[in-house]
Symmetry: C2
Subunit: 346 residues, 2 copies
DNA sequence: TTTTAGCACTTCAATTAAATGAGTGCTAAC
DNA sequence: GTTAGCACTCATTTAATTGAAGTGCTAAAA
């Protein structure tokens, strides 16, 4: 159990370390805080805190920095989300001022704005749409040879794909396909649609026509596109600012990790808390052991739940960031809900 | 006028400098080439070449490196495109093996492949489509409230955009708009369409209906999306490998330069030669003064002409790269032409 | 028992000095 | 015109020096 004074020291070291970026010594602590004790006493306390695993040294005679455990304790028990200053709230609100047409735009925009605001790297993961139902399928002829396939879900998501039909292809076949899809697939959840696309549908298609060999691949691809995760990363380059002494290889491997969208979405997917902080190795990713991830979910109305996150150094100003994330998730949510309601109110 | 021996020395220095990445001294030159002369003679010749501006030193007692002018001379008169090895040709062919549906995919893919192949940064600029004509305009209702606008050009380009109509909006209005567009805009070149969209069309629309305030903005945006340049950059990170001693700020400014797609396309736009090499300050961009750009055009059949380019250090192996670019542009062209013909042959 | 002043000791970071070596320019002879 | 030889230059590496920041420990004070 930590004493009041020990807690005070730990808290101060976390604060001062994010402020100065250098190990904090007993003298600095004396000058910059209102702890009433001599430097010697503080040193003794620091020894205790180090023994307990909350602090660590960078070398034998250096000042102290918080350990991962120290940060964990700070985040769990000491931190109080900072009040977000008015300008920043305004920036966020302004950013989402323009109307939007596709959910993807919000995903992109939110990552951009959040990374600008924080100077860290921001990741935005759109609401999961796998559970949504297929509500519409269209084939629209564009000219003699080109047809656009369009797919609509009950959550309002739309995806399309263009393909070229063989010469002499009977356009009536298209109508057959559409009605086939309407009979077999429309109204079903996407997961089920996927399964049917593998088994039954190809057989049925084959029954009605022979020229449509490659067409199924195209339509398949359209569904895959629909189901893929909407994810966007903003401010990758900000990483260069806050990790000066990172070498090129590290940087590259983190960068390419971020391109592997699959890993990323599993990092952000399904979280229970509204705001979650994961510090260093809690992320279970070697290259990110000196990073922390603050992720927040937002309620996207009927679309489900989306996630936004910032990736920064373990020494980031958690209380400020958590305050900010909270505002952000609420604004984002409000924006999306507003959007859907305004649709009804026209 | 340079002597045979001087040319031989210049050529060797260019070659050895790309090989070793360090200034080349008279002794190295003696050992690594078959020039028959003593090191002293070579030194004398190097003095001459330096006076003429083809070589330069990094400090008063260093070996020589080629100057920008030296590279220019090398590229213009000495270089012979290297034969591309079979594996690489195969890699290129394989990369474009799968079918594609949209030109954008080719733009993306070609930049990825080219950057992997060269280990430099690759830029791909799709064919210009401003001169194409609008051949089709459709409004497809997706559900009670959502409509997709689709735009088709004579070059086969398609763009679409989804928007939400006001509640109680009479869907007959959509047909009015479509027929208005068909009367006024279809068949005209896009440039002209743009102009009409500013002046006449809004007035006409207003005449027929009042609820369609925001709709014009949406349609406008659709046209802007269509006209924007198709550009993609691959292997940005490769830059970190070949410019070790570049500082963070430089890196960031180059990186953000590449995000400014406008500058980039003006860098690649309208070139006459099939393959063009621009060295250092010939690019007229301060931050790129130690880079060279090799750009090549490819014939995209009826679509016009596209451009691919690689951005690398001024000391890159030009002959190998030029050989490669030549293969690449031909394969790319072949692929696109094939694609269009296979459409006719079905 | 807790706190504090004082001091010896450790380490990093920055500075200076010296040694090394690759490469040049120039001169004088071939 | 070519070359051997030599003095000189400059970047790079290594080692030594110093100062600042900070610690741990001891012994005295509270």
């Amino acid at each position: 159990m930590l004493t009041e004074r020990q807690i005070s020291i730990l808290k101060s070291i976390v604060g001062l370390f994010t402020k100065y970026g250098q190990p904090i010594g007993s003298k600095t602590l004396l000058e910059e805080t209102n702890i009433v004790a001599s430097s010697a006493t503080i040193r003794n306390e620091m020894v205790r805190l180090e023994e307990l695993g909350f602090l660590q040294k960078t070398h034998s005679s250096s000042g102290r920095i918080p350990s991962k455990k120290g940060y964990r304790f700070y985040v769990d028990y000491l931190l109080r989300p900072a009040k977000v200053n008015h300008d920043e709230v305004e920036t966020i609100q302004k950013a989402f001022d323009n109307p939007f047409f596709q959910l993807d735009e919000i995903v992109v925009k939110s990552a951009e704005v959040l990374s600008n605001l924080t100077s860290y790297t921001a990741i935005s993961l759109g609401p999961e749409i796998k559970e949504s139902k297929l509500t519409g399928f269209r084939l629209v002829p564009l000219n003699e040879r080109k047809v656009m396939a369009i797919l609509v879900t009950d959550k309002g998501h739309v995806e399309d794909q263009i393909f070229t039909v063989p010469k002499g292809f009977d356009l009536n076949n298209l109508e057959k396909i559409v009605s086939l899809f309407n009979d077999q697939l429309v109204g079903r959840p996407l997961v089920e649609v996927f399964k049917k696309l593998q088994d039954e549908v190809p057989i049925l298609i084959h029954k009605y026509m022979h020229t449509a060999e490659g067409m199924m691949d195209l339509i398949n691809e359209l569904f895959i596109k629909t189901a893929r995760e909407r994810i966007h990363i903003g401010g990758r380059m900000n990483m260069l600012d806050y990790s000066e002494n990172m070498d090129v290889d590290q940087f590259k491997s983190i960068y390419s990790f971020m391109d592997g969208k699959h890993d990323l979405s599993s990092l952000l997917g399904h979280q229970n808390e509204e705001i979650q902080v994961r510090i260093g190795n809690e992320l279970n990713i070697d290259i990110l052991e000196n990073f922390s991830l603050i992720s927040a979910t937002y309620d996207a109305d009927e679309l489900g739940t989306g996630t936004i996150a910032i990736l920064g150094p373990t020494s980031m100003p958690y209380s400020k960031m958590i305050g900010l994330m909270d505002v952000f998730r609420n604004e984002l949510s409000k924006k999306i809900v507003d959007h859907y309601h305004s649709m009804d109110d026209y």
